[in-house]
């Protein structure tokens, strides 16, 4: 215990004088500023509809035209070619061409080409609903909400917070730990331990604890100054601890294979990039190919979100926490064995 405290004190001093805490604070501050003042609360992602009627305007088209007219930012043009011309200038538009054939309104939808199947379906549905509107008896419709609790809408800027918490405390821990270990390898101080009664597990554990502490401080700062204090703190701090230990233990594991930071750099950068790939899936939960979901940071990201914005899915937290704990234990035990061997390699 005395040894572990000694190691902690030393690692803290080294990290402090290496400006780790300062860097962490500055990054947290930047993230808070970006969230609160730079990202808009609402992104204008609404698609504008350009529509035109070809041929005769008929009675049957009325409800549909009424619907299109009422849509925000919609615009009526004279012809299909005019619609297409305008669409080429503005990627945030779609076109709807209406004509009548065989006593029925026929709708042609002109797309930009990058819309996914879901939004195509949604568009088709809303158009057909508009056509049928006159035949629907609204009094017979019952609204069924799947979530019993009303979900408050998360402002766009605040919805980035879980991503920031994934990045700053977890990924910074990964990079800081690698720096710390290589600093000792280059100073060769690691040898000085080996001729003292220090155990490798104490040496490694102390570094992990410092990184977890850094991560927790930074998480608390970012959370309090962006989304406030109404989050599930136990869940958040637990998952961030597991995540930062994961970052630190991975760095520790990688560092054992290299003599100095420059040799390890390419690996450190590549692996931290791989760990951040799941962020691509954050705003599109349906985008979940296996090579993204197997990364521990994928579940971790959604577990952090669950802790901040509960969506009634706590099992993602348990799943991520347990998986990370198992991986962390394995990385830690392997690192102990590898460090013991590699230090005697010479």
């Amino acid at each position: 215990m005395k040894r572990l405290f000694g190691l902690l004190k030393k690692d803290f001093l080294v990290a402090y004088r290496g400006y780790f805490f300062l860097i962490m604070l500055v990054v947290a501050l930047i993230l808070v500023v970006v969230t609160n003042w730079l990202i808009p609360e609402k992104a204008n992602l609404d698609v504008k509809v350009l529509y035109a009627v070809e041929g005769e305007r008929t009675e049957r088209m009325n409800s549909l035209l009424g619907f299109l007219q009422g849509a925000e930012g919609s615009q009526r043009l004279d012809s299909k070619s005019a619609v297409i011309e305008l669409m080429q200038g503005d990627k945030n538009t779609i076109g709807v061409i209406i004509r009548e054939a065989a006593e029925k309104p026929v709708i042609e939808i002109v797309l930009q080409g990058y819309e996914n199947q879901q939004s195509r379906n949604a568009l088709a549905l809303s158009l057909s609903a508009a056509i049928d509107a006159q035949n629907i008896d609204y009094s017979n419709i019952e609204n069924v909400t799947l979530q019993a609790v009303e979900q408050p809408e998360i402002p766009l800027n605040k919805s980035f917070v879980p991503l920031m918490i994934l990045n700053e405390p977890v990924m910074l821990g990964f990079i800081f730990l690698a720096t710390l270990i290589f600093m000792e390898k280059e100073e060769n101080t690691i040898r000085a331990y080996l001729v003292s009664p220090v155990r490798i597990w104490e040496y490694l554990l102390s570094k992990i604890i410092i990184m977890a502490a850094l991560a927790l401080i930074s998480t608390i700062l970012i959370t309090v100054f962006t989304v406030g204090i109404h989050v599930n703190w136990i869940m958040l701090l637990a998952i961030v601890t597991a995540g930062s230990v994961f970052g630190a233990a991975s760095a520790m594991f990688i560092a054992v294979f290299f003599d100095n930071l420059s040799k390890a750099m390419i690996w450190i950068i590549s692996i931290s990039l791989i760990f951040t790939i799941p962020m691509a899936a954050y705003f599109i939960p349906s985008f979940s190919p296996w090579f993204i979901t197997i990364l521990p940071t994928y579940d971790l990201m959604f577990a952090i979100r669950e802790a901040i914005y509960p969506a009634g899915n706590p099992q993602i937290f348990y799943q991520s926490f347990i998986t990370l704990t198992i991986i962390n234990a394995a990385l830690y035990i392997m690192s102990i064995a590898l460090y013991q061997r590699s230090l005697l390699r010479d």
Binding site: E187, Y193, D346
Partner: protein, 284 residues
């Protein structure tokens, strides 16, 4: 205290040995000097003894315990001063020692007292990153005493130090020996070896060629030398001549009878000369 039998080590794990069939025994309270030129295998031997390199072949026992079977508590008894200074550059001198003192399970020395002993009291609160090479060397030396070790390994403790500091370090080593510490001292400084060591081992190319006390080595291999300065054909010349070698004796006679002798005195062979004589190698 330290017993080494038929020790071999190859960095390349083949037949090219950095240490080859090395055997010696060090008694309690003895200062044992390990002398040899650069690359002789001194540091390699020391690293095996302190467990920084794993034992490939041979037997090593420290304080009666086979080093293959020891646990980490053994390191409570050992102090090591490294050849190249390895300290935390971001910590001050006193922080470095304080941190280290917390690693041991035995009562430790006061860091400030140790720094004072090696003349670093004024730099105690300066970051080690701002220390000069000699200061770092002294810091590592001071650190090796932090746990009051029973067995003390010193790898080139005085290399790169000025004569004044060197003599302070010599004094500390002598004092520790008087308190009963067993000392393994690696050096290529023959003068240090001569005044400090109870026994020395000569090592070249990984092999030991002689082990004895400096005095016995001198008696056995040393010979009286005459150093003579004389003028021959109006040129001042200098010669070292053995007083036991027949050829040298004849030359000496010739010089005295045919040249003008300026100075002449006899001197004892130094340990360095004996080293060269035994190993055929210079100590640099």
């Amino acid at each position: 205290m330290i017993s080494v039998k038929a020790l071999y080590h190859s960095y390349t794990k083949d037949e090219s040995y950095a240490v080859k069939n090395v055997s010696f025994d060090i008694q309690k309270g003895e200062i044992f000097g390990f002398l040899g030129p650069s690359g002789a295998g001194k540091s390699t031997t020391q690293k095996i003894l302190i467990g920084l390199i794993s034992l490939q072949k041979g037997q090593v026992a420290i304080d009666g315990m086979d080093i293959k079977k020891t646990n980490r508590a053994l390191f409570d008894k050992i102090g090591v001063s490294f050849e190249r200074a390895n300290v935390y550059k971001k910590l001050t001198g006193v922080e470095n020692l304080k941190f280290f003192s917390e690693m041991f399970g035995v009562p430790t020395e006061n860091p400030l007292k140790l720094l004072k002993m090696v003349g670093l009291e004024d730099a105690a609160n300066k970051k080690a990153g701002d220390y000069s090479k000699g200061m770092l060397q002294r810091l590592v030396f001071a650190r090796s005493m932090i746990s009051n070790p029973k067995i003390w390994f010193l790898d080139e403790p005085t290399s790169g130090l000025d004569p004044n500091t060197t003599s302070i370090i010599k004094g500390i080593i002598k004092e520790r020996q008087e308190q009963g510490t067993t000392i393994f001292l690696t050096t290529h400084n023959m003068h240090i070896a001569e005044v400090l060591c109870d026994r020395v081992a000569f090592i070249t190319n990984g092999e030991i060629s002689a082990i004895d006390s400096p005095r016995n080595l001198k008696l056995k291999y040393g010979e009286k030398l005459a150093s003579i300065e004389y003028i021959e054909n109006a040129i001042l010349k200098k010669a070292y001549l053995s007083l036991t070698d027949e050829g040298h004796k004849k030359k000496l006679n010739d010089i005295i009878s045919s040249c003008k002798v300026e100075t002449m005195h006899t001197q004892e062979a130094t340990l360095e000369e004996i080293f060269i004589k035994i190993t055929g190698k210079e100590l640099k």
